[in-house]
């Protein structure tokens, strides 16, 4: 019996891996992921336990190309092709936390990219609608999300500037690609009481985020929020 339990465990793991190719490669990364969440996310000020759990669950390494898998849990952004990047883990955690996602929320993501942010959001919300303008990225991230069993993420290729009118309104909107302005169509598609977050910066850096809230009456307020780590630079 003592031998049987580990054997069953191993058999189950092998079977699981065989049935789900994505999980086959997850084991070596579990520790890295736990360390990432502990050292880069939690220690840097992201304290929402649901966000931390989601980031511990989502295998980030499967959202980057094989050549970068070993670096997937390092504290920096990585290229995903087409001049796009997967944000550094801390920024994903920070943006997700500030949106205060609930299990009943309908979320719009503009700029699917690798699909990682959508996966993290999907762990916390009811539905995630994600729009990606570049076809190659849309195809790849759709496959990754599907392989990983994310059934509550719906993805389409198109211009995210116009949001997803048919699925609006949204409780939360995440714009993952840095933009020069807040698209008016997205503001219209944000539900009263909704939240929206958008980064400001270049492909390999996020120095600044703009957080927008729509109150119950539809009035919009915005404020710049600084990732907690960067606040130290200001001496506050």
């Amino acid at each position: 019996m003592k031998i049987a339990i580990p054997l069953i465990t191993i058999a189950a793991a092998v079977l699981s891996a065989a049935l789900h190719p994505a999980l086959a490669t997850d084991e070596p990364y579990l520790q890295k992921r736990a360390a990432m969440v502990r050292d880069q996310i939690e220690r840097e000020g992201v304290t929402d336990s649901r966000v931390l759990a989601a980031m511990r669950d989502v295998p980030r390494h499967l959202f980057v190309s094989p050549e970068y898998r070993s670096k997937a849990y390092e504290p920096y952004p990585l290229p995903i092709g087409e001049g796009q990047t997967i944000s550094q883990p801390y920024v994903v955690g920070f943006m997700t936390q500030i949106l205060r996602l609930k299990e009943t929320d309908r979320v719009l993501e503009v700029g699917t990219g690798s699909g990682y942010q959508a996966a993290v959001a999907a762990k916390l919300a009811a539905e995630v609608y994600s729009v990606e303008i570049l076809e190659s990225l849309a195809v790849r991230s759709r496959r990754t999300l599907s392989d990983l069993g994310f059934r509550n993420v719906v993805l389409r290729q198109g211009d995210g500037y116009y949001g997803w009118e048919e699925k609006a309104p949204f409780d939360a909107i995440i714009v993952t690609c840095a933009g020069g302005h807040v698209p008016p169509p997205l503001l219209r598609q944000l539900r009263n009481g909704g939240r929206m977050i958008m980064p400001v910066g270049g492909p390999f850096m996020t120095q600044n985020l703009v957080f927008i809230e729509k109150d119950a009456q539809g009035a919009i307020t915005h404020r710049n929020v600084l990732p907690v780590a960067f606040v130290r630079l200001l001496g506050h």
Binding site: G180, G201, G202, R232
Partner: protein, 809 residues
């Protein structure tokens, strides 16, 4: 002309004719090499970013240095048949100008990954190595005549300098006639001419091989040029990737490569107020060397789009009715349309890039609908500082183009770029052109911690204080939106009613007023507090530099015009301590690449210079004396420090970088070439003492005169400015051409074994000199950098008499 060089078999031509042909080959090959350097600056700026420019100089000179090392190592073999090797180096160098670049495009190399991905380094090394190949081959070819063929170094070096001057001068007009992708045809063609001279030399054998090499060169000149592969992070690459993107117009010329691309997925409105609920019309995006330069809204000329009234940068238009507007820098049609949408009475745009002006005004007129009919628009094609000095008109609003962008100025890509408009002298010149109540306006992206806005406020305050327009704090207003800021300043204090208008504007559009201070802001986070404190300190705090700040926010001057350099090297450990793993976004990449190129060149120099001593048992160790190393390293460092500092300072007076580069490199090469040609007359130790003293004096005096004359020269015509620039560098450049061939002659007289080593040392330290020139300009200023160059020449002078003597003994 020959002095007992080893003979190639079957050489029937006279020694003089052969020497003359070698000199001609050196001339054309040097022209090709210099032209290659100039076109690579454009090509790599287009493919990557301008911070690759120091790398170009680096790999050029590293190739030369490597050539010296290689020749030293295989010296015995070369001595057996130098003519043959010379011919083959020329024949291989010519096609290499094209092939090396084509090959480099296959290296998938991402400069952004260098800081954290070790895999990026080998790729970077391969990329660097490939581009160095043609320089290595030409370096070998140019060194062989005086190191092995034993031609007199003066004429050979003079031919090299003269060829470089010709290459620089030919490259400039070529930039006007050849599209960016085809620029490498110039070095290829010049290389082909050099090949033709070598081909007619019957010595050296392998005639069929030579013909094949020449055919390869000719083949490369007729096949289509390589498609330029842009970094995927370039703005142009990103927009081209969008579905439905198409190029609708393009121009090229001396100032750059300009393209207009229409893509339905582009919706550019940086900093647009969230109160704007309308539609943004379709837009064409303008790119200069692949970076976004402006926007052209479709049919905007027929009716200026409504969104143009919803930016913080519109603030000056809310303070002045029907202003006469001066815009420094053409931002597509958006700048002019913004003025039109906000009821300007006239607009004058100053833009030095002629090609950009033509693209916007002529090629895109159908798309844009032209300029608004109701608004008189004048475009002046000249440098902003030249216009401010020359034109005596008065304006109500003077707008500088955006002084920071959301992406690349954050990354510090432009940290090493000269910005003469944002210096104290530039602000002074702009303030002088303002009429009663006129406003000087700046806008840009917000950063945390704040940088550009605080630095410009400190500069404005310093200049207002010098003009006794105090307190400066009463003459400034600053606001910000969710992502951008706007600063306005003027010579007279703002009235309370005007401050109320600023406040109302902020309230209407969802902006925040930062200055005059409006007390605490509800909901303001750490970033808001930091911004307000920084602005308040800039306006009312003690003047002068704050040594304790993480970033350097002190005003810059024309002597070190690097507005976008914020990094203090000494605070880097503090960044790491404060930010831990998140420090990378704050690194200024331009400076990283500069320091990187210096480090690479020093490490490679140290490694490669030790190679001959370690592996060659033929007296190299004896030849490579400390005096030889010291002398030629000082020359390499000093020449680049002086030449590049003149180049950088010349940008202000000459109006743009590429003209300054052409004239500085061409001018120095031309006059140094003359110096080299006559160097035989000054080879005595006594005469050389005077030469070195003369260099030190001419360098310093020439630069001081040029700096002092810069301000009055700005208002003069192109011819006068060019003449003055060349006149101030000519005496120094002439004398600077003498020390190298003079010392090579001494080494030749001592047996010549150390000549390749000297060539290598000079090449490697020229690389270090190129990087040090930029580092000196960034942190010490132009004048001190030139002084260091002069001191290095004096030090070289002290070593001159020992060069060759130790080897003889």
């Amino acid at each position: 002309m020959s002095t007992g060089a080893p003979r190639d078999r079957g050489d029937p031509v006279s020694e003089d004719a052969k020497a003359a042909r070698v000199v001609l080959v050196v001339f054309f090959l040097s022209a090709a090499t210099l032209a290659n350097e100039i076109v690579l600056i454009r090509l790599l700026s287009f493919r990557f970013w301008p911070h690759f420019v120091p790398l170009i100089v680096s790999q050029a000179m590293l190739g030369f240095g490597g050539a010296g090392v290689a020749l030293q190592i295989v010296r015995r073999r070369v001595e057996r048949s130098p003519g043959r090797l010379f011919a083959w180096m020329v024949l291989l160098a010519a096609p290499a100008f094209d092939l090396a670049f084509r090959a480099s495009q296959f290296v998938s190399f991402d400069p952004f990954l260098l800081l954290w991905d070790p895999v990026a380094w080998p790729r970077f090394g391969v990329f660097f190595f490939l581009l160095a190949v043609p320089f290595f081959l030409s370096g070998c070819a140019i060194a062989i005549p005086f190191a092995f063929l034993r031609l007199r170094p003066g004429p050979v070096y003079a031919a090299s300098f003269a060829g470089s001057a010709a290459g620089a001068l030919v490259a400039l007009p070529f930039l006007m006639v050849a599209p960016t992708g085809g620029l490498l045809r110039l070095p290829l063609a010049l290389g082909a001419v050099a090949c033709a001279f070598v081909l007619s030399d019957k010595g050296g054998g392998l005639r069929k091989g030579r013909v094949a090499a020449l055919c390869a060169v000719l083949f490369l000149t007729v096949i289509p040029p390589a498609d330029l592969k842009l970094s995927p992070y370039k703005d142009l690459a990103a927009v081209r990737n969008l579905p439905g993107a198409r190029e609708i117009a393009s121009r090229f010329g001396i100032s750059g490569d300009y393209r207009a691309v229409f893509a339905p997925g582009v919706h550019s409105a940086p900093g647009l107020s969230i109160r704007f609920a309308g539609e943004i019309p379709p837009q064409a995006t303008l790119f200069a060397d692949g970076e976004q330069r402006g926007i052209v809204p479709k049919d905007g000329g027929r009716k200026p789009p409504a969104y143009l009234g919803y930016f913080p940068a519109v603030l000056p238009y809310r303070l002045f009715e029907h202003p006469r507007v001066l815009q420094l820098g053409l931002r597509g049609t958006e700048g002019v349309l913004t003025a039109a949408a906000n009821f300007a009475s006239s607009v004058t745009v100053v833009e030095p890039a002629q090609e950009l002006v033509r693209l916007v005004r002529e090629d895109l007129s159908g798309f844009s609908g032209g300029w608004p009919r109701s608004l008189p628009v004048e475009i002046r094609e000249e440098g902003a500082r030249n216009f401010l000095a020359r034109d005596r008109r008065i304006f109500d609003i003077i707008e500088a183009a955006d002084i920071s962008s959301a992406t690349f100025s954050s990354l510090g890509v432009h940290a090493t770029g000269e910005t003469f408009l944002l210096t104290r002298e530039g602000i002074r010149a702009a303030l002088a052109r303002l009429g009663e109540g006129g406003l000087l306006a700046f806008s840009g992206w917000l950063k945390a911690p704040p940088r550009e806005n605080v630095k410009i406020l400190r500069t404005i305050r310093a200049e207002l204080s010098v003009a006794r327009l105090v307190p400066a704090a009463d003459r400034v207003a600053a606001i910000h939106g969710w992502g951008t800021f706007s600063v306005v300043a003027r010579r007279t204090p703002f009235h309370p009613a005007e401050i109320d208008r600023v406040r109302r504007f902020c309230s209407d559009y969802g902006y925040s007023m930062v200055w005059p201070a409006a007390g605490a802001v509800a909901g303001g986070g750490a970033e808001e507090r930091a911004l307000r404190e920084a602005v308040s300190d800039a306006m009312t705090g003690p003047p002068g530099e704050r040594g304790t700040e993480l970033f350097d926010l002190s005003p810059v001057t024309d002597d070190s015009p690097y507005f976008h350099r914020f990094l203090r090297l000494r605070t880097l450990p503090e960044f790491k301590r404060l930010l831990g793993s998140q420090w990378i976004p704050f690194v200024e990449w331009g400076i990283v690449f500069l320091v990187l190129s210096l480090g690479v060149s020093l490490v490679l120099a140290a490694m490669l210079l030790l190679l001959p001593a370690a592996f060659v048992r033929d007296g190299t160790g004896k030849a490579a004396t400390i005096s030889v190393a010291g002398y030629f390293s000082a020359l390499g460092l000093a020449y680049m420090l002086v030449e590049l500092t003149f180049l950088k300072a010349g940008i202000l007076v000459l109006g743009d970088t590429i003209r300054a580069a052409g004239l500085a490199i061409g001018g120095f090469s031309f006059f140094s070439g003359i110096g080299s040609a006559v160097s035989g007359r000054w080879e005595s130790e006594r005469a050389m003492k005077r030469v070195f003293a003369g260099i030190a004096v001419c360098v310093v005096v020439g630069f001081v005169i040029f700096s002092a004359a810069a301000s009055p020269l700005l208002a003069r015509g192109w011819g006068m400015r060019t003449a003055a620039f060349v006149a101030t560098l000519a005496p120094a450049a002439f004398l600077m051409g003498i020390p190298f061939p003079a010392a090579i002659s001494r080494l030749a007289a001592a047996g010549g074994s150390a000549i390749p080593f000297a060539w290598a040392v000079n090449g490697f330290f020229s690389v270090a000199g190129a990087s040090l020139a930029s580092i000196g300009a960034l942190w010490l200023g132009f004048r001190w950098t030139v002084v260091i160059g002069a001191v290095l020449y004096v030090m070289a002078g002290l070593l001159f008499q020992r060069v060759g003597r130790e080897i003889r003994s």
